[in-house]
Assembly symmetry: C2
Homo-oligomer: 456 residues x 2
């Protein structure tokens, strides 16, 4: 067994303990100086004052990181990774034309194992270099996204997608569920792979399938990850069709509980918000996607007031051409202020928690990831705050959210593995695979061009 | 005289000609392949198909940039560069506390030659590495900001600041004007330095001073750069005090014309918008600052409809901790869509023009900068689009706005000088000066701490 690793950065922001234990939360969001994190195998063995860490772990290898901030790895709470291959094919179009003229025709022709593998590898690579250590993904052929994540050493949660339309992956709701649950069984011994149930959206999944999903969620202890209240139209159509708003209908079917991750959640009435808060449901907030598709601006300041756990998601590259969780979180913080009229909402510490512990909680994984605490998985990110464009540093947590970019992410660990060092993927085989896939994007580029021009 | 330089990137986006000549504007915003830009001394000698450029300039040195996009250098239409030293001292505070407890007490103690020099050098360095080739700055001791810009080879426009309050720089409105105009006289032979008149805001400058500024603007051909309609309160206070909205009052005093750069312009009625449009005035849009201080969201989609020239500004580091014009422009585009409900507003080409030619037009400099056209100054930026996180590239202009970050800026030229190469400042003396200033930020950090803790 290798020696423990003692990481000694200039600052450590533990983020934990969980919000339920709020006594120490103020301290947990401040940056600790003269402290060290000790990693043993895949876990955080200790967070201690530096001198004490050196005494207690005399045989540890030491990584000194002067000028660096060490934080929990970022959790991307909503993505469609494979869509990286469609980055920028439908910009500046209204939602209807975006879907009907670009995304759906392309997906119907392109989706398959290779497409998902290549797109997911590109997307996960981008996320990992930007400090994401865990991603909650939703797409067809999840076994390919799992393989891509494994290549990079990224922790991932995969939606068992359910949609009332056939695709190259499955034929109907029952088939989607069967395939997804089979995959989950095959992957049960993979420590970095998790699953949730992922009904696509209330408007694409029947009552019957949603009821079955609610039952499975309780039986198997799986979160439910679904797009909901993304657009005004979606809410109006549901009222017209079902006599209920989408969240009311989901609640009626047993889907709204602590296991729910409500993706987008843009158009919410006060009673929708209270429904989520009372149920202990979480929200996956995707501000760039909501802005770019002109869906609107989610009421995240009110969510904070109501104590709803909000995580941040990049969404897929087709609606957010940059899978940059740090940039997404900065926009989340700024937008909450500008939209609500309160500069005090979404302070930096809250935003950092949304990127880490609150997203982990939404996934039911806050016992394992989301904060720097002894016993948790060693999912960590180190940012270099010594760059000229970051001087001077008055408050490192504020700097992390408001000043840093993904370009400052220098090191990333997932389950104790040092997967990114000095902004480079450490694993030779992974680097080679990425080069292969980047090379192959020329082929995908041509196929997309042929499909859009009607040549094939 | 050195040989001409022939730059042969994969794509060139000329942006020009000016919008008035709209026949070619569609083409100007598309990316040209197999073209080259030739630089002679400080100017663009030609934009030609590559083969023709090689024939016509056989003695040119060639810089091949495969995978790169060449665009006009970015113009930052509003900054307070020196405030880089106050980056992050007042985060998550409401405007009143931000001003009264942080910014004003600190500025009153700190402002002086050294503070402005050091802060401006840090800020300009950050901007330049992010592709900014021209900045419109507003602060006290502008001669120090001019010196900092000269160190880096950055083009800069400096506000002749006027405010009805004494500072370390001047005592009253007349004194501010006198000092600013004297400085302008001294700098008249500096090709990279320009000036505008900069009354701080309608609520801090008297009618008399504003009338004098309007007259001087006409006599000297100088733009007028002022904060206006930033907050709802500002508008309400003006109505209570003057019986007019701020822009009505400015119009009354002769300040609203094609020379006006209205900074922020967040709270605008339809008649305010029409006043700006009819006058041919420009707006400096600072979305991050407006969001962070919870001022609100400017109606930029409507500005586009009315044909108001909108440029992008980072504002100062105290209200926008990241002086990243590309990120600012991306937010401008996304926010325009999300706020207006139209995904089609602010398409990528419009956003790129706001970052370049429209900002140049606002400064009255579109005859010299803002687009890649023969005869204009060689202010250029090259971004590397070959990175894995940018593959595949369907539309390079869309990529520039929605996918690229400042981390992709590889080369920058200002007036033909190659000031940034492979993400590094080329000039040894400039690099040394920056290191000195970064070292000195520790001193500023301590002084800020002492002032805020009431020790001095």
């Amino acid at each position: 067994m290798p020696n423990p690793l003692l990481i000694a950065p200039q600052w450590i922001v533990p983020v934990g303990p969980a919000p339920a234990d709020s006594r120490n939360s103020e301290r947990a969001h401040r940056a600790l100086c003269d402290h060290a994190v000790v990693i043993e195998a895949d876990r955080i063995a200790a967070l201690l004052p530096l001198a004490e860490a050196r005494r207690r772990y005399p045989h540890a290898d030491t990584l000194a990181l002067p000028g660096h901030l060490l934080a929990p790895g970022f959790v991307n709470l909503h993505s469609h990774a494979a869509m990286a291959l469609l980055r920028g094919v439908g910009d500046d179009l209204p939602l209807g034309r975006w879907l009907h003229e670009r995304i759906w025709p392309l997906e119907s022709r392109l989706i398959g194992s290779q497409f998902v593998h290549d797109g997911a590898l590109l997307a996960f690579h981008e996320m990992l270099l930007g400090g994401v250590t865990c991603v909650n993904d939703m797409y067809f052929f999840p076994e390919e996204a799992i393989a891509a994540a494994a290549t990079l050493g990224l922790r991932s949660v995969h939606g068992i997608i359910v949609i009332d339309f056939p695709s190259a992956w499955a034929s109907d709701a029952a088939d989607y569920l069967r395939r997804g649950l089979e995959l989950r069984d095959r992957m049960r011994d993979e420590p970095l792979v998790g699953f949730c149930l992922a009904p696509h959206a209330p408007y694409t999944v029947s009552d019957e399938a949603l009821r079955r999903i609610a039952t499975l969620s309780r039986e198997l202890g799986l979160p439910i990850h679904t797009h909901v209240h993304e657009t005004r139209e979606e809410v109006e159509t549901s009222v017209a069709r079902h006599g209920m708003r989408p969240l009311e209908r989901l609640a009626d079917l047993g889907v709204v509980g602590p296991e729910l991750i409500a993706v987008h959640a843009v158009h919410l009435s006060e009673s929708d918000l209270r429904l989520l808060a009372d149920a202990g449901a979480a929200v996956a907030h995707c501000p760039h996607s909501n802005l770019k598709l002109a869906s609107g601006i989610a009421p995240t300041a009110r969510m904070q007031e109501l104590g709803i756990a909000v995580g941040i998601g990049t969404d897929g590259s087709a609606s957010n051409n940059r899978l940059d969780l740090l940039g997404e979180a900065r926009t989340a913080a700024l937008l909450a202020k500008g939209h609500s009229g309160s500069a005090e909402t979404w302070p930096a510490a809250h935003t950092l928690r949304a990127m880490t512990l609150d997203a982990a909680r939404a996934l039911g994984m806050d016992d394992r990831i989301g904060s720097i605490e002894a016993g948790k998985q060693a999912d960590l990110v180190a940012l270099d705050l010594s760059a000229a464009e970051l001087a001077p540093v008055f408050d490192p947590v504020s700097h992390l959210v408001y000043s840093c970019g993904r370009e400052h992410v220098q090191h990333v660990w997932v389950a104790g593995r040092h997967v990114v060092s000095k902004r480079q993927i450490t694993d030779d085989a992974a680097r080679l695979r990425i080069r292969e896939v980047v090379g192959r994007t020329a082929v995908w580029h041509n196929r997309v061009g042929e499909i859009l021009s009607g040549q094939v």
